[in-house]
Symmetry: C3
Subunit: 158 residues, 3 copies
């Protein structure tokens, strides 16, 4: 399987489609290329019009559900990269991932939440999906999302 | 009007001057160039010596005031870029903007706060001001600022 | 003294060794090179297996102790860069540093915490250590760390 097939297979397994428009709000853009580096805007776990993982991790949101949220953020970022590059096989390297987790004052498993996103990147992209990462616990996120993720990746345009 | 004139016109409309030194504290620098990419340090809504938008958004700070804060952060970043490049017309693209909002535990309109900054970038720079963006809600910010913003932009040096 | 000697001297003065493996958790990597730019993953003040500065700054953690945490984060980042480049003298510029401080709702001296990291970078690298910086106050951090830092630097590989 190539990276695009692995992405489709994982989307099927997660039970969500990322084929539609990746909606964002506001006067900005979801992805910008500068040379061969792609910058992807902060992604919340939105599918279509609905943010499907909301609330505070460590309170009403369990770790496993937050990890699902991180996976969906990563899938959205990949969907945007695929659209830009034509194929996910054109990604050379995910350079940096930052994961923001809406959490309680005593929740400290931010890295474990981020592991959901990292697993997606590695499963779909293989070695090219290996990345540097920063995980932090924030007070709130847009739309009450439980997790938000942005990233940079390098690749070869069509 | 060119970008510099639009900047001056917007500064006049906002009622603040960004002509003076953009003051920062600590052992770091407000802007660094690497090749044709400029990195701008985190900006709070300071004018001269005073941070003019402080406090927690969603509590004592209303959305509209937070948006003003985001606008001032963006104007400061533009003032630094103008000094570096000689003219804002030399900016090729704003690549990434990260906006941190000091908010309550239930405030979820971080994107709307950031729209203040995005509007400034687009109004002054036009298409070159379109950017990727990440907005998060944090627990506190330096000097009790309500909002902080950093960015990266590419351009052509003098 | 060259940068490596200044690093060793500072490690000795701080009383910690950064010679061992810089451990991280999860499916990511501590450092990635893209061209001549190095991305370093988020570092907490861990020495060996122990995060030695934990807790909330402004409450049980005093400013001075948080600054020590920021110094250790910066030393870890430098240790990773040294391993990558062969020598810290090969670093051309630290481009961007982001510092996340786990703080109380009224703590506003995030910049002062970050000054600990900036002092280390400047002491070891000299002018090459001057950087852009963003400091924010977050709600929690991995392993209850008081501070977390990530950075980008440019340099010449071996």
């Amino acid at each position: 399987m190539n990276a695009d097939q692995r992405f489709d297979e994982l989307a099927l397994r997660l039970g969500y489609s990322f084929d539609g428009e990746i909606k964002i709000g506001g006067n900005y853009t979801p992805l910008i290329m500068d040379g061969d580096v792609a910058y992807v805007s902060g992604q919340v776990p939105r599918v279509g019009d609905t943010v499907i993982v909301t609330g505070r991790v460590g309170a009403e949101v369990l770790l496993e559900h937050a990890q699902l949220g991180a996976k969906i953020c990563a899938m959205r970022a990949l969907a945007l990269l695929r659209r830009q590059f034509g194929s996910l096989d054109r990604i050379r390297r995910v350079l940096r991932v930052t994961v923001y987790v809406q959490c309680t004052d005593s929740f400290t498993q931010h890295s474990e939440v981020s592991d959901g996103a990292s697993a997606v990147l590695f499963e779909v992209l293989g070695e090219a999906g290996l990345h540097t990462r920063t995980s932090v616990g924030v007070f709130q996120l847009p739309k009450n999302a439980s997790v938000e993720l942005d990233l940079m990746a390098s690749g070869t345009a069509r």
